[in-house]
Assembly symmetry: C2
Homo-oligomer: 181 residues x 2
């Protein structure tokens, strides 16, 4: 299979910076020498964790998604902070969003959720040996923890009750990993 041809970065500038992301604009050059502009989301990686209880149930969190004006049921996830490893980020998000700590972590994949617009990779973990450690009071007002069986999750994806792409993505990696193990 021939390799698709590379576009290379010539220059990059940050147009906007918030605590969560930057908006950057690059000047790139194509193999034929022509130049173009690329405006995109410049963001450190993220993590998403599939917490698996001994019963086989999976833990998800429901939160309000402002941009879609709906609540969404998702695996615990979050952006990496500078200097934080993916595993450290996943541990922090599992504790802060779902109120759990885990004895055992397994990285099962990584993917780019939105590669045309954002340079983010999402690192995917399975967490087992779960222990409830409780969430901070301010979190409980905005995030609700739910336990679903694998079958319930499949059904809620088909029925579109679960509509977060990254959650569907991680669940697919989980199912494929279990099928090929």
């Amino acid at each position: 299979m021939k390799e698709a041809r590379a576009w290379s970065q010539l220059r990059s500038e940050t147009l906007i910076e918030t605590p969560w992301l930057k908006i950057a604009r690059d000047v790139y050059v194509k193999p034929d020498g022509s130049e173009g502009l690329y405006t995109y989301v410049d963001i450190p990686g993220s993590t998403m964790t599939i917490p698996v209880l001994e019963s086989g149930e999976l833990i998800l969190v429901r939160q309000w998604r402002y941009l879609m004006q709906r609540s969404s049921l998702e695996f615990p996830a979050g952006g990496l902070k500078p200097g934080m490893s993916p595993l450290e980020g996943a541990e922090e998000e599992l504790r802060e969003e779902a109120g759990y700590a885990a004895n055992s972590w397994e990285k099962i994949g990584e993917f780019a959720p939105y590669n045309g617009v954002s340079n983010e990779y999402c690192h995917v973990f399975i967490a087992t040996g779960l222990e409830e450690v409780g969430v901070e009071p301010e979190s409980t007002e905005e995030i609700e923890v739910a336990r679903l069986t694998v079958d319930e999750l499949r059904r809620q994806i088909v029925s579109r009750e679960i509509w977060d792409g990254m959650t569907i993505n991680c669940f697919a990696l989980y199912e494929l990993r279990n099928a090929t193990k």
Copy 2:
């Protein structure tokens, strides 16, 4: 299950506009009355199509992903243009990227690939009754068409050769739809 609490939009402004997307910033208000700023990608919806040949093989396209500096194998996809229905957009992308027309279209789902940062919904179609119509000469330099069996696709997701989140997502919807049919 209690509903997560809504954050509402107070004001919105466009900070950057390109031919493909806008960067917008909203002032929102939380249920407790506090206000905040939300900077995000404001973009029309998109489509991704799973083209299924009579053999059961699926058609994917390989293209260079500038932001990740790698080539990526993905289902044909693209952003919706103003006034274009999801089906019209999917038909156009299938023809332009992969060089196929389809007799039969089935919408099997929709999801938000990146709901914390972008307001995009991706509409997912299966296309069958495929006929090769050829691609434009300029497209062939940048996009290569590939045919994969369902098993090959599963393996390439597990091995991380396929790492585009939206493609993994659509494949998961395809597998779930076939399992529950």
